[in-house]
Amino acid sequence: MRPTSHAFNRNAHAALADERLQEALNGTPQGMQSRRASAVAQLPEFEALREHGREIKNHVIAHLDLYLLKFEEAVTRQGGHMHWARDAAEARRIVLDICRKAGARHVTKGKSMVTEEIGLTPFLEANGIEAVETDLGEYIIQLRGETPSHIVAPAFHLKKPQIADAFREKHKHLDPERPLTEDRQLLDEARGVLRDKFIKADVGITGANFCVAETGSTLIVTNEGNGDLTQVLPRIHIAVTGMEKLVPTMEDAFTLLRLLARSATGQEFSCYTTVSTGPRRPGDIDGPEEFHVVLLDNGRSALVGSEMQEVLRCIRCGACMNHCPVYGAVGGHAYGWVYPGPIGAALNPGLIGLAEGHALAGASTFCGRCEEVCPMKIPLPGIMRHWREKAWQQQLAPPTQRWGLGLWAWFARRPALYRLASGLGARLLSGLGGRKGRLRWLPMAGGWTSERDFPAPPAGGSFMQQWQAREKRAAPKADGGKV
């Protein structure tokens, strides 16, 4: 997927003006927030699990090379094949080669953000292989030629009539007069259409929520059961996943699973948690004959050992975006790349490059709710700040911001001048604020004041000047009060 994250500001404005989108966004975060809150409240051990989860992932990242090798060894021992992909193009090529070698013409796909990241589905289609998303939300947006707007609920931004329109347009083989007003009618239609795809598929591609180093297993979590039909029916199962998804043992995976569903949907456990190890065993009734794991780097390895490495703990639950005022206002597409919300702001600059992604690091009010709810305790605002600093060092920040901060820095290094200038500034603004003490417009901050007034500083000069005046007034009394 080609990122448009550099244009976050423009994207966000468009999103705010999009009435349909605003209607779809309206109210949904509250539901997601309260479901999570009640699931967490019902588990007194949640905090202890968070701590342990953090420890597990920190340990894995600090030993990532060793765990990758252990995992590879176990996958191979179980009869599977492990593939390493430096970047998106290499990962796509590996998958295509496996499909070609098998003579595959039909592929089904489980929901996977990593395959979105590498643009796998359109790539396979461009190469003459039918590739169908089978998660209902993913299927809907595939029909509409869109990308997901939420990492857990990809069609979060759509209302029912838009879904019905997409079905009518693409399911031409069905009666054009059929009713599509009820949820159930839409679901049944999708279920029917996708059943045929499941049965026809030669290759099934899933992601992996976790890769278990000890056993060489991949693990997926779903509610619909589509991921399971994707991986059990076709002859070949390919799991495409990021290299940071490793956990040492199944026991470690269970700790993270206790956090995942509660944080994502407020369920205690998702309907289906499925562990896949190698191809089918001799004598097994069903299951794939070949099992492949494609492990993607795509910028992740460069985060190891950096100030941003904690972002690699992410288990993609989506809680941070469900609680983010910026995401809630503009939705997922404005972020211009696969991972929206706070996790996108913290992760994307590392994956698509700072030049493209740095605008996202500013997509925050720094209210800190994302960090508060993140089950992996990732300091998301702190990481965004690091990216901002880096963008600054690399001179990627917009000129007005660079110029303004440069001017400030010049004054800040000259305290006497700084005091003089800020004192003058404060008096000037206070005068402009008039009796109401509010400013309708601020020089160089017209964008900010176009939506709200700025409280003018009180008369009496800058904070430093007022402080000094106060000290002077208080000084004799303080002396006199000494005993």
Binding site: E45, D65, A155, F156, L187, T249, F254, T274, I285, V304
Partner: protein, 219 residues
């Protein structure tokens, strides 16, 4: 040209430079060896009858239906009643280990082997049941078709009362001791569902719409 594998490992190692290599290796080996169990919530520590009751309550909360049967011999009649009560076809795909329970008396049309897209009902046995969240553990193998857990609209699962445990960890440990590492482990909590249409939950997405669990005593 270096391979992708070498390059990815080298990049990671660059970020981890300065680490005590010998200690790192022994840490990793110890961790894999030990299979350390993390904090188990109180709801995952129940045992015996308390575990069975909690399992039933929580499975129901996840929209499954549950009944208790005295012994395995009661399963065929219970299945026949369930299907008749819901006007479902009297035909089921069953897992091989349930074949000898005496289905002849019920008049149900019973088939074994791999599940087929035309199947509407399956009756299978579970490896374990987990009280913590009302979750079933099913495994693949020569007797168990994984597809039978997902293709039919109605999924009936038999689990011995003695196999109801508190936590995922315990279910996994016992299954591993009995079977090694099956190709597929399915942890199943309630029937399939989706919230993808305007965030409203609907049951019966791609997998079963009905999940009926029979907890069977060991008579």
């Amino acid at each position: 040209m270096t391979s992708a594998r070498e390059e990815m490992l080298a990049r990671v190692r660059r970020g981890l430079a300065g680490r005590d290599e010998a200690a790192a290796r022994s840490d990793v080996d110890a961790r894999l060896e030990r299979q350390h169990v993390g904090p188990i919530p109180a709801i995952g520590t129940v045992e015996g009858e308390a575990a069975i009751e909690q399992f039933i309550t929580r499975a129901r909360a996840a929209a499954a239906t549950v009944e208790r049967l005295a012994g395995p011999g009661d399963v065929p009649a219970a299945v026949a009643d369930y299907l008749a009560g819901r006007n479902l076809a009297a035909r089921a795909r069953i897992s091989a280990d349930l074949a000898g329970l005496g289905w002849e008396r019920t008049g149900l049309d019973i088939v074994g082997g791999k599940a087929d897209p035309a199947d509407t009902v399956s009756v299978v046995s579970a490896e374990a049941a987990i009280a913590e969240t009302g979750t079933l553990l099913l495994i693949s193998g020569a007797e168990h078709s994984t597809a039978a857990n997902f293709l039919p609209e109605t999924h009936l699962v038999v689990v011995p009362a003695s196999r109801v445990v508190g936590s995922y960890e315990l279910a996994w440990k016992q299954a591993r001791a009995r079977h090694g590492l099956p190709r597929t482990l399915n942890f199943i909590t309630g029937p399939s569902r989706t919230g993808d249409i305007e965030q409203r939950i609907q049951l019966g997405a791609h997998g079963p719409r009905n999940l009926h669990i029979m907890v069977v005593g060991d008579l």
